[in-house]
Every structure is written in structure tokens, then in C-alpha cells.
């Protein structure tokens, strides 16, 4: 299956999404938080796509908005798609969890919550994972300031 087919399939599930990925290696699709869960469930459960391997889950802070980035691939067909969920609400960013679809997401979502402060709705155990529980702020956000611990060279 090539990227064009994949685009059509994704378009059949949700209409409101952007594609990019001409210059980079994988097909990128930017979706809204409301649509994300639907798309993820479809890609995981549909026999045609069968995206059972979530090999990277992270987030990027673009100051105006946040992205959570899901790298998905299939263990059967050689197709990869990168789903980016665009979150505009910086104060209270919420995305649906996918840790029931891919178990690895449980730890990765906790990491993203820990470092970016993005909350995952319905996550069974959303706590900080790398930092201590009483840490203030989310260090990988671009507006994070910590005069004590970060030494600017």
C-alpha cells in the first residue's frame, strides 16, 4: 500500500485533517484532538491497515500550539504513518489516551505528561514518570524557566 491509498483511507474516516510528508520520509497527518481517537482506533483495528506497532510517541511544543506525535507502523505490511494531534489549548491540553490500543503508550504517555503537561483522557495511571512527583512545571516546554538547575552556557 502506498501513501496515496493510505491518504484515501484516512480521509474516509475523518475529513478534517491536513497531510504533509512530501519532503520527509513518512506520511504525516495532522488531526484535531476530537478526531484523533477515532482515527487511531480505525488504523489499529482495520484489517487493511493493521497498525499494531506504535514505535514512537512524543510531543513537540511549537509555542502557539502543541503537537503530540504518534509514529505508527504495521508489523505485517510495510506502511508507516505519523499522526500529529494539534492542541491549541496550552493551559489545559487534553488528548484521548491510546494505551488500550497500544500498551506501550501507557509509559510513553506518562512521559509526555511528565515533560509537556499534556493530559491523556482515560489514562489509567497518569503520574509523572521520570521526574519526582512534586516537580513544578513541564521542562520540555519552550517557555520553561529554571534558573537553579539549568546552566546557560
Amino acid at each position: 500500500m502506498d501513501n496515496e491509498n493510505l491518504k484515501n483511507i484516512i480521509n474516509s474516516v475523518i475529513t478534517d485533517c491536513e497531510f504533509s510528508g512530501d519532503e520527509t520520509q513518512f506520511l504525516n497527518v495532522i488531526v484535531k484532538p476530537e478526531d484523533f481517537r477515532k482515527l487511531a482506533e480505525f488504523l489499529r483495528k482495520n484489517s487493511e491497515t493493521h497498525m499494531d506497532y506504535l514505535f514512537c510517541l512524543t510531543a513537540v511544543d511549537w509555542i502557539t500550539h502543541l503537537f503530540t506525535v504518534y509514529h505508527l507502523t504495521s508489523s505485517i505490511n510495510n506502511i508507516t504513518v505519523v499522526i500529529k494531534v494539534k492542541i491549541t489549548d496550552r493551559e489545559n491540553p487534553v488528548v484521548d489516551t491510546v494505551c488500550d490500543l497500544w500498551k506501550t503508550a501507557e509509559f510513553h504517555e506518562r512521559e509526555v505528561y511528565d515533560l509537556f503537561g499534556i493530559k491523556f483522557k482515560n489514562h489509567p495511571d497518569l503520574r509523572r514518570i521520570l521526574l519526582e512527583d512534586d516537580w513544578v512545571g513541564f521542562p520540555l516546554r519552550k517557555d520553561y524557566k529554571d534558573e537553579v538547575n539549568i546552566v546557560e552556557l
Binding site: N28, F55, T58, F107, E111, L130, E132, P139, L140
Partner: protein
């Protein structure tokens, strides 16, 4: 007493109480500062809750301040046992962004050293695995053989562990004149010593009893948890990046992807032992055919990646390492994410060890081959 009475009697035995035990952060078999909160019923494990972050050094945050050359040496400190492979991942990712074609010589050198790194990592793992199960002698034998590889590294790369041999565009220096001879000597030596590993542990009845049918991970779970590397392949998940997305010189060598379907500790053990044989095969194919040429492609002093996102996956000794660089055309990346194999592998520990005994947890953990800095980053 009739059988029925016996059963009812058993059922009326007062319930045992569960209790918690902290395994780590200082514990001999967590191989670093990993803390596992175990819920136990007697010796049976009911639940495992890993607590991470004891050596979280915010490498991803540091990368946002550093230049691309400087990032490379930080990755030495993630999975220190496959440091060269980590370096290579970053360099490949940067080269992908720059659309830079590295010389053939570099590709071959990188592949050989990657495989040597994998060998040394697996040797250490084998030693530590034996030690975790109580056979301390294996630890010394593993280190004995690893020492020869670190000597090769020291001579060519300048350091034994955190060698930082890669730079974007190539390798730091050309290989040392002794490199080929030493490597070949090592391979002939190790081909004789590896069967000894089998004699000491693989065939040993105590060892097989301790590892067979312990820490079972099904194929579906392996994929869902993203358990990669020899651990994933022992569950039947064919996830070898070297085969699926060949990089460097892996497309020109013949080797087999080791896949077992048992999914237990013994399969993971066998997968790693078999991988050592495959690694030696790869090195033997390449060591005499290092093409002549430059050891480094020309790069600018200040590297700026074009705007965009770059993802590079490599196969470290522990599994699939992904480097995800988001660039905004500045001298340091906008965001770097390391998808470390240990982090995903650890998340499957609860599923694997639940219902087993404490001693089995130790065996399961050592077959997962966790390196804590790799998990915490």
C-alpha cells in the same frame, strides 16, 4: 476424609496477605538505579510497578541547546553498552537531513564497529545474566572476552566505553593500522570461546529449569508493548531494523534475523547467543573489504539542518532506537526525541513477570537486558 472435604478444607484456609517490597534503587539485580515496587503474595509476584527517573539527565533538553556535533557525545551516555550504535543513529539522522552521502569506507567502518559493540554488549549481558542466576564465574568470562573488544575500541576510537567515534558525515579518525588484524584475531579467538558459553549455561540443567517457560511474552503483547531487539524477536516479532530498513552497510552483508517463537526467558537467551554468531559473521564479511577512501565527508563547521522532521531507526543491542529530530533551521535542533528500546521493553516487565516468583523476576529482567541510563535518558 473424602476428596470433597479435603477441597473445602483447603478453601477455608485463611487468606494470605499481600505485602510490598522495594526492589531497588540499590539492588544487585536491577543493574542500576531502577526501583521496582513489587506486590507479593509469599514469593509470588502480584504486581510490578517500575519507578524510573533516578538518573534522568534530561538529555533531550540538553540537545535543544547543543550543536549537532555535540549531541552525538550525549548519546554515548544513554545506552552506554551500545554507544557507537547510538552515535551512529544521530549521525545518520543528521546526514539524512543534510542529504549527505557518506563515503563507502565510513559505512563499512561504522557497521563493523556497530557489530563489535553489539558483541561486547551481549558478552556483558551474558556474564551478568549468569551472575543474576547465581553463576558468578560467567561474569568474569564475559568480561574477559569483552576486554579484547574494548582494547580494539581504545586503539581505534580513543576510549573504551564512551568512545564518541562518530561525527556527522563520517567517523572521527581513520581506523588504526592494527584494527583489521586485531579484529580478525578476536573473531578467531571468540569462535573458540563462544561454545564455552553454551557449555557453561545454555545446556546446564539448572539454567534451563530457571529460564524455560518463565517470563512469557506473547507475540501480540511484544508488538503492542513495542518490545524490540532480541527480546521482541524471541517472541516472534520480526523487528530487526538491520533487515527491515537497512542502513550503513547492512544491505550488502548476509546474515540471518534470529526469530524464536517461544517468548520465554530461554528463547530470549538463545536469541542473543545466536545474534553473537550472526554478528561475527557480519564482521567477517566486511573486515577484509573495507573500501579505500576518506573517513569523513566534508561538512560545514556549523551544521544547520533544513526545516523539517527526521526520523532514523537503528538496531542497538537492546532493540530499536529511534532518533526523531525536529529542526527549525538553526544550529541546534528544535526538539530531539530518543525512542529508547529499554523504555518500551521495561513497560512489558509487569506482564511478563506477574504470577512468577521473585527469582523468576530476576531472570526475566536480565533477559530483557535493561540498561537504566537508556530508560531514564
Amino acid at each position: 476424609m473424602t476428596e470433597q472435604e479435603l477441597i473445602t478444607n483447603i478453601e477455608t484456609v485463611p487468606e494470605t496477605q499481600e505485602y510490598f517490597i522495594n526492589m531497588g534503587p540499590q539492588h544487585p539485580s536491577t543493574h542500576g538505579v531502577l526501583r521496582l515496587l513489587l506486590t507479593l503474595d509469599g514469593e509470588i509476584i502480584k504486581k510490578i510497578e517500575p519507578h524510573l527517573g533516578y538518573i534522568h539527565r534530561s538529555i533531550e533538553k540538553m540537545c535543544e541547546k547543543d550543536s549537532y556535533q555535540q549531541i552525538v557525545h550525549l548519546t554515548d551516555r544513554m545506552d552506554y553498552l551500545s554507544c557507537h550504535i547510538n552515535n551512529e543513529a544521530v549521525c545518520l539522522c543528521v546526514e539524512k537531513g543534510l542529504q549527505l552521502e557518506v563515503p563507502e569506507r565510513v559505512k563499512v567502518i561504522r557497521t563493523i564497529i556497530s557489530e563489535l559493540t553489539r558483541l561486547s554488549s551481549h558478552q556483558l549481558w551474558w556474564g551478568v545474566m549468569g551472575m543474576d542466576l547465581g553463576a558468578i564465574t560467567t561474569f568474569l568470562y564475559g568480561f574477559r572476552d569483552r576486554e579484547l573488544i574494548t582494547d580494539i575500541f581504545e586503539e581505534t576510537c580513543g576510549a573504551r566505553l564512551t568512545m564518541n567515534y562518530n561525527v556527522p558525515g563520517g567517523v572521527m579518525f581513520d581506523i588504526h593500522p592494527n584494527f583489521q588484524k586485531r579484529t580478525k584475531d578476536f573473531i578467531t579467538y571468540f569462535r573458540k570461546k563462544l561454545p564455552e558459553y553454551d557449555e557453561l549455561l545454555t545446556g546446564n540443567v539448572i539454567f534451563t529449569e530457571r529460564t524455560k517457560d518463565i517470563g512469557y511474552l506473547s507475540k501480540d503483547d511484544a508488538i503492542s508493548f513495542g518490545v524490540t531487539g532480541p527480546s521482541g524477536r524471541a517472541s516472534g516479532f520480526a523487528c530487526d531494523v538491520r533487515k527491515r530498513f537497512p542502513y550503513s552497510a547492512y544491505d550488502r552483508v548476509q546474515f540471518e534475523e534470529i526469530v524464536y517463537t517461544e517468548g520465554d526467558c530461554f528463547a530470549r537467551y538463545k536469541a542473543r547467543i545466536a545474534e553473537m554468531w550472526e554478528s561475527m559473521k557480519i564482521i567477517e564479511q566486511l573486515i577484509d573489504n573495507i573500501p579505500e577512501g576518506e573517513h569523513k565527508a566534508k561538512t560545514k563547521a556549523v551544521i544547520k539542518l533544513p526545516e523539517g522532521e527526521y526520523y532514523q531507526r537503528v538496531e542497538t543491542a537492546r532493540g530499536e532506537l529511534g532518533v526523531y529530530i525536529v529542526s527549525d533551521n538553526k544550529k541546534s535542533p528544535y526538539r530531539v526525541k530518543f525512542r529508547s528500546p529499554g523504555f518500551s521493553n521495561l513497560s512489558a516487565l509487569d506482564t511478563m513477570a506477574r504470577g512468577n516468583k521473585i527469582a523468576d523476576l530476576v531472570a526475566t529482567m536480565s533477559t530483557l537486558d535493561l540498561v537504566i541510563p537508556d530508560i531514564d535518558r
